[in-house]
Symmetry: C2
Subunit: 477 residues, 2 copies
């Protein structure tokens, strides 16, 4: 493998091939569930270098089929599904896109921005804002994750109810194929029916079909105002009714709709005493709504008040507050975003990122809660998420007083089976927005239809016949 | 081939296999550019029958590789790209989905509707409206075309600027694969990251990878009001500026943005004397804007007036009218929709369905107009379309007094080359919303990148190794 390493050093320069020292930042996943060993971390500076690196690896593998060499593309390494770190074979190249972080251009008239894969999400949000435009993708890791990773996993986040997932925000891609060729598909077109949808095939393929090196992204006018409301609801049924009212009365102004269970909020109140958690003591769920208005703050406020008045009248909201200032709005979002941290402080837990049709959410939660209580009495459910998209982070915490590590060791597999079976019964997905990675690849083999898996395998084998790209992720061949 | 026909009759019933008589309705394309000869027209009643038909054909072709038998899926047969009619070999089965026209369900809480492929688009719009909801796909053929065809071609239409193409309106699919298996992918999920995006791969594949038999579609709340404005603009640059203002001031209320050249409108005035065509005499282009408002008609009106005031102040609009009644709004749309008919009455013409980035539209039109005038002095340009999506129907009519049929015969190839070369130079697409079909398959081989074509071919061969499904369309293998 020395000849391969020499060639990679020749392509990207000695300074950008790491083989020694502490490579934890590249070898260990975000949640520290896996720490692999890379053959090398390679950091190309441009698309051409990416293509040459892939070509060199492909040629090497063709000549040495037993070498076990393969490529793991990596952005900000914030995968929640163990999708971007090497295994422990010492034969995988981590191909880091971090140096490719140029914004190639903003086209305000076309409402697009063309960016390289290694750009940090937050930097793109800021770059759009400088042009008085909005790039709406927003998620907890935005200060660290890269747009290449967001595209590779089709990341979701908090504004999907209005703007869709990452896939919906992308018009064109530049991709290095598994053969080391470059597909120049950076179109800024909103309509292009010239053949198969290669763009959406690469998006969400988690680096198993090729490497996204750049993208043309959709931008929107920056809203004139963004207001946040916080509503206590008597049930999840009521939350679903409120969602319907919000769609009707706010229209496309509805840019966020997050539901939070009482226990989830009580953990925030417990572990972050300085945060004021509104309205949660007497309600099983609270909902955070965001209204982005293209007219004015006054208009946004009037709209929110009209909606909440109707909802109070109908009984699907029992109490509500609307943020009066930007600081208040931020504080409400901060409460929402503190749930994962509060939960971590409470102890290890079993996380699920699931979705079901919105109309099935109340029944799904009721049924799954009951099954879990029956199987593991006293178990605590940290249930929150993007209800507007049918997406819940349905997390399972050990009963009060039970050691969390012991609980996970003894019950994680059983809890996963129970929750995933229930998700399947309610027509849902066992990975709504985090992707498959290594973590769910075997679950997928069980829960995905054999016909779909067969199609996926055929595509993988057609586009990456050497199984060079991120093998073992998404689908095994 | 008699054994195959017998088996097909056994599967769908004698009454639903047509081999004799006048089959023009299935064998001839919408624009009458091609009249083929089918082995049979087969009309299955359900997904299982579709699967059995495909399986029977696949088995037959495996046993008789030289038979030349293949399948052409067909919906309403309104393709503008000759994509759904058989060739003249007499060996193709037209598989018509027309009998599969059941709406399987409307889920108002989930804002979805699950429908079979043979449903007529207009019936789906009406069915949504009965539930006080909107299915926003809208195009000229909506009274005849089927949703299966819309999905197969990723149809565009007049509301793409807000709601996207058909692809953006679909959450899940049921598909019969080229092997005759059924992929049950009818999810009503807004987030599902469990593997490759099979849905978007089948959408827009024009029946070459499998047969879409049903879909789960997105619905929206019905707007409280829809108003239409008509604005005269001094140039295409001004139209692009107006589009930017409309995005900013109407937000997601902007559901239509159509530009129409002076010559296109003059043909409507000439051939439909009873229609009043506003403001076109003194302006090179007019723009039709639609504002869909979730509040009220009054609010929509106020919004429109504010926008047009700003646009008049900035000089990007020289004059404008806002519809006061629904009848007036319909009449304005009627003028826009009469352009293709008026153009047909004026004589045959060379049609192009192209897109470029919105920001490139003025330069593209200026450059291409000049090239055409230079090559064919006196040529007349019927230029109109969905400017909000960067999509123009850039059609070329013979010079005044020149016989249209002669002009087409002598110059069609040259005009196409000139226009498509220009589209390519401006970063555009030679088929924005109509698809590839037979009509553009050879153009595609020339204008699409070899890497993209290679990926498409690999996918086609992986999913349809017998080349059974609509061969010769989209990509040749």
């Amino acid at each position: 493998m020395q000849t391969l390493l020499d060639e990679l050093r020749h392509i990207v320069g000695n300074a950008h091939v790491f083989t020694d020292g502490d490579l934890t930042a590249w070898e260990q996943d975000w949640r520290k569930r896996s720490h692999g060993k890379a053959l090398a971390v390679v950091r190309p500076a441009c698309t051409e270098e990416v293509a040459r690196v892939v070509k060199a690896c492909a040629d090497y593998v063709s000549a040495n089929p037993a070498s076990g060499v393969s490529i793991v593309p990596q952005g900000g390494n914030t995968s929640l599904a163990v999708g971007s770190t090497p295994d422990d074979s010492g034969r995988q190249i981590v191909l880091s896109l971090q140096r490719m972080n140029t914004v190639r251009g903003v086209d305000a008239d076309n409402l697009t921005m063309t960016v390289e894969a290694g750009c940090i999400l937050q930097n793109l949000q800021e770059r759009a804002e400088e042009a008085n435009l909005l790039f709406p993708l927003s998620l907890a890791a935005e200060g660290t994750c890269t747009i290449g990773g967001n595209l590779g996993t089709n990341a979701g986040g908090t504004q999907v109810v209005r703007y869709g997932n990452t896939r919906d925000l992308c018009l064109g891609l530049e991709v290095v194929t598994a053969q080391g060729e470059v597909w120049h598909g950076l179109s800024g077109l909103r309509k292009d029916n010239t053949g198969y949808d290669l763009r959406d095939l690469f998006i969400g393929s988690e680096g198993t079909l090729g490497i996204i090196t750049a993208a043309t992204l959709k931008l929107y006018p920056l809203p004139a105002a963004r207001l946040t409301a916080w509503a206590a609801v008597p049930s999840l049924e009521a939350a679903v009714t409120l969602l319907g009212l919000a769609h009707r009365h706010l229209g496309a102004g509805l840019t966020g709709f997050e539901a939070m269970g009482q226990f989830a909020l009580s953990l925030v109140a417990k572990h972050f005493a300085q945060l004021r958690v509104p309205l949660h003591l007497d309600a099983p769920f609270c909902v955070l709504l965001e209204n982005s208005d293209h007219e004015s703050e006054l208009h946004a406020h009037t709209q929110f008040e009209r909606l909440l008045e109707i909802a109070l009248d109908q009984g699907c909201v029992t109490d509500a507050v609307v943020s009066e200032t930007l600081a208040q709005a931020k504080q409400l979002w901060h409460v929402r975003e503190s749930i994962p941290l509060a939960q971590a402080l409470e102890g290890l837990n079993i996380k699920h990122d699931i979705s079901v049709p919105v109309s099935n959410i109340p029944d799904f939660v009721r049924a799954t809660d009951a099954l879990l209580q029956q199987a593991l009495p006293g178990v605590r459910l940290v249930n929150f998420g993007h209800l507007g998209d049918g997406n819940l982070h349905y997390n399972v915490q050990a009963p009060e007083g039970v050691d969390a590590a012991d609980f996970l060791r003894d019950h994680e597999a059983r809890v996963n089976t129970l929750v995933f079976d229930s998700v399947q019964a309610f027509g849902g997905s066992i990975s709504a927005e985090h992707g498959v990675g290594s973590l769910k690849v075997d679950h997928l083999a069980h829960y995905k239809s054999p016909v779909a898996l067969g199609l996926m395998r055929a595509i993988k084998q057609a586009l990456d016949p050497r199984n060079l790209m991120n093998p073992g992720r998404v689908v095994r061949v």
